[in-house]
């Protein structure tokens, strides 16, 4: 069920990415669990004659898009015709038609060429006729551009035939041209670039979350969505609204129209609801049509390369080249044909694709990526990030040189013949790319192992922080920064501030959502009691007393969150801060927050407590704020910090030969498994790492995620799998591993509620409770659980490396285990422990007795 719900939610909401530390209860994931059970439960009521059924399809009953034949149009029936991408500039603003129960309003904005003319359905037939008359003319060779549009026209008109075939009341469709910049339209893909033509968008007649056709239900009702206009239909209505779905999940009136590009990722992925509704073969057919039908293909002209829209052949070439751009969306791109750099206009490169393709405009613009470094690569002024990467790669950049760079990475000064070197020769270059979120060449073959050592003496130890999302590694990283005084740069703080504020909005939305829920409950109670005065006076009043501005804001926030694209714009934060302050002062909302506080995630409460301060544009995050902030790991693919340990007094007194070199530097690198490519192939960049710190959240044993195939997996099992692949990864074969079990403090709470044996891997956890009731004999359950989990990992590790074989290692493999919590001491201890391990590694057991790997106590640090 959870899966179904998640499928319906748009992907990548910032709130979903956050650290899941507090998800035991009350957070919004568990909300979605509760909610799941509120819909689509099996119907057990009396027989209803009218249940919509997935009947076997009879071919001639399927409403299909037939070529329009105008002579067959009966004179006075008003056909609901989607006004297509018209090239005319007619703007016939007619008052919206009143009645029509199931009228869907479509908004067409940003149309490729020309503007969408809006007209009510009564005038539609006439328009169709006009378009038809235009057709032969517009296919004359003199107007190639226009011709493309009329193709759309034709397709759009086609669908008018299919609409009636259902015999149902048809949806009256009309478009409105939304006013530019209206808040609700700031969907993610508009920000992708203004030049993208948009598809029509349905406007909901009912209240938020209701079905677009029957206007019933709320946002927890299961719905299927039209991939064109975003109209959402409930179980009962999908069939009627979408018919036989010859182009996949589209309203009948949307057939033939290009899909909403933000939905391209979900092509072929339907809701579970639809799976129930259709037979397997129907579903298969619909989904494959959705993916492969012509109308749903990415229109080549929406992709401009070096200022020139592509034609179909060029797009084909682009998509089928050995290294095509990933997730190609409509938009303006620049392409360095010599080296293969590829990016959005105005942005740094995002990928290195196959070079030498003759597509788009012939010349790249100097300012294609909006660089400001005065340094050029193949006639493009590069960005700061690229410059930093070049510097790391050892490219001499003094004097603002202009370079020619070849696809293989060899570079030379512009106009010269002599190659100076190869950017990719140094492994550091790849590391730098990861740090600065820059693309790397697709093949690793360009890397030659002739990397010169950065330090002649080994004075830098690299510690890799690896772990699944929300494993606590980023927290360790952040704590290390504050512990060892490596503060964040202004730029980083600015970005962190933005993330924190975005999170804050999401937290606020959680409160508003709850508020709304309470309100509904309240109303229900009142109406059932039929007494107006016995209800909670204050909240009943505030529900109506919240002023329209606040209401509007709150609706917008909820909508954005529901759709998963909650985004705030730094520019608007000043205005919003005032609105938030006002909203927060509404007593009912504040009361809701108080009621909710116990169940909200810890971070949410931390920030909501200071909502007035944090929402302000002047707000500057403190170190503690940064530590508490969620979602920072998404800031960059990889974070990296150099530090050294301040020596403690205790250490100073140690014998000199046991002292650590105070000049020894450590580099903590937080690796996000997602950014490591297929099979973690970029791990090879870190072949020179000295220690792998594998992080696992202790609370994972009771949590679940969905894996790539949509199967629910216990997060601890997911950790186990990642651990296995890391230990077995050739690039890490010779590495020491330190397992850091995080969130010990949360485990203490959780273990009381959820037994450790919930996780199948921990089934044999069977702590002996001594009759002797002293704490010495009965250590806290969390402590035992921690030991047990550590033990399980050690056993796993031993089985992976083979009990006696060194397998080419220069040391006896052994898993070290440590624990941390939110206290910075714990992190300091763990990292100092890492340092010890490295020292041991060097001295290899001469000083310390190798402990039996099965006696875990001995090697635990605490």
């Amino acid at each position: 069920m959870a899966a179904v719900f998640k499928k319906l939610l748009p992907l990548a909401s910032p709130i979903h990415k956050r650290d899941n530390r507090d998800s035991d209860d009350g957070d919004e994931n568990s909300n979605s669990f509760q909610i799941d059970y509120s819909f689509a439960s099996e119907y057990k009521g009396p027989f209803i004659a009218n249940v919509p059924r997935a009947n076997p399809v009879e071919v001639d009953q399927i409403p299909t898009a037939l070529p329009i034949s105008f002579s067959s149009l009966p004179g006075d029936i008003s056909y609901p015709v989607v006004q297509p991408l018209a090239r005319t500039n007619r703007v016939t603003e007619k008052p919206p038609e009143s009645a029509a129960t199931s009228s869907v309003v479509l908004k067409g904005h940003h149309v490729v060429s020309g503007s969408s003319s809006s007209s009510s359905s009564s005038s539609k037939r006439l328009d169709v006729a006009e378009e038809a008359v235009d057709l032969p003319l517009s296919s004359s060779p003199s107007s190639a551009e226009v011709r493309e549009d009329t193709e759309d026209d034709l397709r759009a008109s086609d669908c008018s035939n299919g609409v009636e075939a259902d015999g149902e009341t048809v949806n009256r469709v009309k478009f409105v041209v939304p006013s530019e910049g209206s808040e609700c339209d700031e969907s993610s893909y508009i920000s992708d670039g203004e030049s993208i033509a948009a598809t029509p968008r349905a406007e909901r007649k009912g209240k938020r979350g209701s079905c677009y056709r029957c206007l019933m239900g709320n946002r927890f009702t299961e719905k299927e969505v039209c991939i064109v206009c975003d109209a959402k239909y409930c179980f009962n209505c999908v069939r009627r609204a979408m018919g036989a779905m010859p182009e996949g999940r589209k309203c009948q009136s949307c057939i033939g129209i290009r899909i909403d590009e933000s939905k391209r990722g979900s092509l072929g992925k339907c809701s579970r609801m639809l799976k129930r509704l259709l037979t397997d073969s129907e579903l298969q057919q619909v989904m494959s049509a959705e993916i492969s039908c012509k109308a749903n293909q990415l229109p080549s002209r929406l992709i401009a390369v070096n200022d020139k829209p592509l034609d179909e052949e060029e797009l084909y070439m682009l998509q089928t080249c050995p290294n095509p751009p990933k997730k190609l969306k409509p938009g303006d791109y620049w392409y360095d044909k010599v080296a293969g750099y590829w990016g959005k206009v105005g942005e740094k490169p995002c990928q290195i694709i196959s070079p030498h393709m003759n597509i788009g405009g012939s010349n790249i613009k100097k300012n294609a990526s909006n660089g400001d470094t005065e340094i050029f690569i193949n006639n493009r002024e590069i960005t700061k990030a690229e410059l930093m990467m070049l510097k790391v790669a050892g490219v001499q950049c003094e004097g603002k040189p202009h370079f020619w760079v070849d696809a293989d990475g060899t570079y030379q000064e512009e106009g010269q013949k002599r190659f100076i070197g190869n950017i990719w020769n140094k492994k550091r270059a790849r590391l730098a790319c990861a740090v600065f979120s820059l693309p790397m060449p697709p093949t690793s073959s360009a890397v030659e192992p002739n990397d010169e050592p950065i330090y002649t003496q080994k004075m830098l130890n690299k510690l890799l922080l690896i772990g699944n999302e929300k494993c606590g590694a980023t927290t360790i990283y952040k704590q290390a920064r504050s512990l060892y005084g490596v503060s964040f740069s202004e730029d980083e703080r600015e970005r962190i501030k933005f993330i924190i504020q975005t999170n804050l909005y999401a937290y606020l939305a959680m409160v508003l959502e709850a508020h709304e829920r309470f309100e509904v409950e309240m109303n229900n109670n009142q109406s059932s009691e039929q007494t107006g005065d016995t209800g909670d006076e204050t909240s009943a009043k505030t529900a109506s007393s919240i002023n329209p501005r606040l209401k509007h804001f709150s609706d917008w926030l909820l909508k954005e969150k529901e759709e998963g694209n909650l985004k705030i714009f730094p520019a608007s934060s000043r205005e919003n801060a005032q609105t938030i302050a006002d909203l927060w002062r509404v007593p009912a909302i504040h009361a809701t927050y108080k009621r909710l506080r116990e169940t909200l995630p810890r971070n949410a409460v931390y920030f909501l407590e200071r909502i007035l301060e944090i929402s302000r544009s002047e707000y500057e995050p403190s170190d503690m704020d940064i530590l508490q902030a969620e979602g920072l790991s998404s800031m960059e693919g990889l974070s990296c910090v150099d530090f050294s340990f301040p020596s403690t007094t205790q250490e100073d007194s140690l014998e000199s030969d046991y002292q650590h070199d105070p000049n020894m530097k450590y580099q903590l690198i937080r690796l996000n498994p997602r950014s490591l490519g297929d099979n973690w192939k970029w791990l090879e960049m870190f072949e020179d790492a000295d220690l792998v710190i594998f992080c696992v959240s202790l609370t994972d044993y009771g949590e679940y995620i969905e894996d790539g195939d949509g199967i629910r997996v216990n997060k601890m099992i997911a950790n186990k799998q990642l651990f296995e692949s890391m230990v077995n990864h050739p690039s890490l074969a010779n590495k020491r591993f330190l397992l850091v079990l995080t969130k010990f403090d949360l485990l203490e709470e959780k273990i009381e509620q959820v037994p450790l044996r919930t996780c199948e891997w921990f089934e044999d956890f069977n702590p002996l409770i001594s009759q002797n009731h002293t704490s010495r004999h009965n250590p806290p359950m969390a402590q035992r659980a921690f030991h047990y989990i550590g033990f399980q990992f050690k056993r796993l590790y031993d089985s992976l490396v083979g009990p006696f074989s060194m397998r080419g290692r220069s040391f006896r493999p052994k898993l070290f285990v440590s624990q941390v919590s939110l206290e910075s001491d714990a992190v300091d201890n763990a990292l100092r422990y890492a340092r010890e391990i490295l020292k041991w590694h060097v001295e290899e057991t001469s000083m310390f007795q190798e402990m039996s790997t099965t006696s875990i106590e001995a090697s635990l640090s605490s």
């Binding site: 012939s362 004097g399 512009e414 100076i420």
Partner: protein, 395 residues
């Protein structure tokens, strides 16, 4: 030439010559008055710089180039390697990379220099020549066996590398810049040939035409390639022979050099610009190895000219422009030195071409071609160029 080494030379304008041009069709020569061209030339042509050429110590240049670091080598030529370095702008002392004046230090191969004094005199003379289309010679170093020349750094490298960079998908110099660079180089050469400078370049080729940050073309290494008659400074004589493909036939056969042999070499450069092919390329089939030999038969008709234009230019040029450039080139390439135009004439012809770039001929209805959908100029019907009498002087 030897007599005026120490005297200062002023640029004069040499464009008032009444001699009727070989290069202009009658209709064209009247369109641009030669006086405007002359005026433009005058302001550009300050010949001598007051700052003398600086003598550097080897150590200074070592510092300026970070000890001749391998990754500061920018190019390599017949003389030796060229390094990138930095000097303080005001006192020309070595400075931190990235600050001050960027220089190109040419470290000459160490063998075969005699007559240091003559070499020096020559350098001092050439170093004082100042023209917007000559690469400034900042100084030199003569210490033990070290011979080095210090030039201002030309940010965009050489014409050769822009035209012939390997890799077919590299977009080479656009058409309008090719014309501009050709004109710039012609101006530089015309200046060298002019009275009283009178320097024979001797080694005109695409690699010696360098481009600054704004794609202004400048000649480098002028006057250094000396041969027999002028004395024993013959360190490059064999190398000049090596630049076969550019050298004029009379020079090949007799070893005799004059300004007209420079014009011939310049014609070869024009051909390279037009065709995007190198003067001599042993990777081409035997018949095509030598560009002039291969192209000459194509220079006889408009249609054939359009067949040899650099295909990478696709639609950037108007056919008449390509034909125009070919006609200038073919005259420079006349076998008989006397039939070749002077560089002044070449400058004016190129100036004319540049001034009218992108302007299709008015008398023809061809301006409507684009609307007819015929965007590829090269495919236009031949009648378009009717009013251009093709080069009347053929050998």
């Amino acid at each position: 030439m030897g007599s005026c080494f120490s005297s200062r030379v002023k640029a004069e304008n040499h464009f008032h010559c009444g001699k009727s041009s070989d290069l202009y069709g009658p209709s064209l020569s009247s369109r641009k008055s030669s006086s405007t061209v002359a005026a433009a030339q005058k302001t550009e042509g300050e010949i001598l710089d007051s700052t003398p050429v600086k003598s550097f110590s080897f150590n200074e240049l070592k510092l300026a180039t970070r000890n001749f670091r391998p990754d500061s080598v920018i190019g390599e030529g017949g003389f030796g390697c060229v390094f990138k370095g930095w000097l303080d702008e005001t006192n020309l002392t070595p400075t931190r990379p990235g600050t001050g004046l960027v220089i190109a230090v040419k470290k000459l191969n160490q063998e075969g220099y005699q007559g240091h004094r003559e070499w020096l005199t020559e350098i001092n003379y050439l170093g004082q020549l100042s023209h917007p289309n000559l690469v400034k010679l900042v100084g030199y170093c003569l210490e033990d066996e070290h011979h080095l020349l210090v030039y201002e750094f030309m940010q965009k490298g050489s014409l050769e590398n822009h035209l012939f960079r390997r890799g077919t998908y590299f977009k080479p110099l656009p058409w309008f810049l090719r014309i501009k660079v050709a004109l710039d180089a012609a101006k530089g050469l015309a200046f060298l040939h002019s009275d009283p400078v009178k320097v024979i370049y001797r080694d005109i080729k695409a690699s010696n035409i360098l481009l600054d940050g704004d794609y202004n073309g400048k000649l480098s290494d002028f006057g250094l390639a000396r041969d027999g008659p002028m004395g024993d400074l013959s360190y490059v004589s064999t190398r000049v022979m090596g630049t076969y493909g550019y050298a004029a036939p009379e020079y090949m056969s007799s070893g005799h050099l004059n300004t007209r042999s420079d014009v011939y070499s310049f014609g070869v450069v024009l051909l390279e610009i037009l065709t995007g092919k190198q003067a001599l390329d042993h990777n081409r089939p035997a018949k095509e190895e030598n560009l002039v030999v291969w192209a000459r038969p194509h220079l006889t008709s408009k249609r054939k000219v359009l067949q040899i234009v650099d295909t990478r230019l696709d639609t950037q040029y108007l056919p008449e422009e390509a034909v125009r450039l070919a006609s200038i080139a073919v005259q420079c390439l006349s076998v008989e030195p006397k039939s070749r135009p002077t560089m002044d004439q070449v400058v004016r012809a190129l100036q004319q071409l540049q001034d009218n770039l992108g302007k299709p001929t008015q008398t023809d209805p061809v301006k409507d071609t684009k609307k007819l959908g015929l965007r590829n100029g090269a495919k236009l019907p031949e009648k378009r160029f009717k009013q251009y009498p093709f080069a009347r002087h053929r050998e």
